[in-house]
Assembly symmetry: C2
């Protein structure tokens, strides 16, 4: 009934099997390959792609690098460095060190946004309780919270309060 492309597990996986394992679409897998992210994928005598366990490991690494905010072309650069061997260890270390710094900055940024959003959540909860946004804005507890959260010397909000 079901027509499954068998790709002889000892030799690797078909693109359909990789789709199931990774959740990526076949389109995306071919796109990644065209962009140089999967330089190890081979084809069988019929022209079908055969993915090895190493290719799946690379897809996992690509996912990690993407999640860290790297662009496709930067991931390709990393893979090229990998293929060049130990002479590029320093470049790759630099890339990871830079990623860590970017991630740290991003997490700090998100924490600032989180504080603002949480304040708004409190503000609107109070507004619903009191019946209007204006009443909540004039609420003493809300004003104290706002002062506590945003009246630090270098916060932009000290000068320009957010609307809404």
């Amino acid at each position: 009934m079901v027509n499954v492309v068998k790709s002889d597990k000892s030799k690797g996986f078909s693109i359909g099997e990789v789709v199931k394992q990774t959740g990526l679409s076949a389109h995306t897998l071919r796109y990644y390959e065209k962009e140089g992210l999967l330089p190890f994928v081979t084809k069988n005598s019929s022209g079908l792609r055969v993915y090895t366990t190493t290719d799946l490991q690379w897809l996992s690494m690509i996912e990690c690098l993407k999640d860290s905010g790297l662009q496709i072309k930067e991931i390709r650069q990393y893979i090229e460095w990998f293929r060049q061997g130990d002479s590029t260890l320093q470049q790759r270390l630099d890339l990871f060190a830079n990623r860590r710094k970017v991630l740290e900055a991003e997490m700090a940024r998100l924490q600032v946004v989180m504080n603002k959003i949480t304040f708004k959540e409190t503000l609107y909860t109070t507004a619903i309780k009191l019946g209007s946004l204006e009443a909540a804005d004039n609420d003493k507890a809300i004003q104290r919270l706002k002062k506590k959260l945003f009246d630090s010397p270098d916060d932009f909000d000290k000068r320009i309060q957010e609307a809404g």
Copy 2:
């Protein structure tokens, strides 16, 4: 020498002044307006935009919502709710509550990525010290660290190790 458009501070700011204050480009400010994010901006008798302090407050709010991951059309929706008054308090509260959940998930995700990147940084530091990536991979301390970080039951990396 310098030709500054004077927009009578008591009545507001020119687009050039807003560019300086916000760091956004004039193109972007007009684009936001076209997309419905600045429905309060008026024009003077010459057809030039005049921004008020309220508009600057909205730009600050827009920045916050964008930073929280909201799309432009979702921000427009929020602004429409705001203009509709207290009858939409619940929708706005829901939006903020949802934002907080999304931000929490995003921060958790970033922490996972951070662990992986930090491991890679340690791995490559060791590789440079030992002279090759293979030597670092075989290093006992590295293997212990890898086991400690990634051998939890539901980590994908338990089954598919990352390459590179």
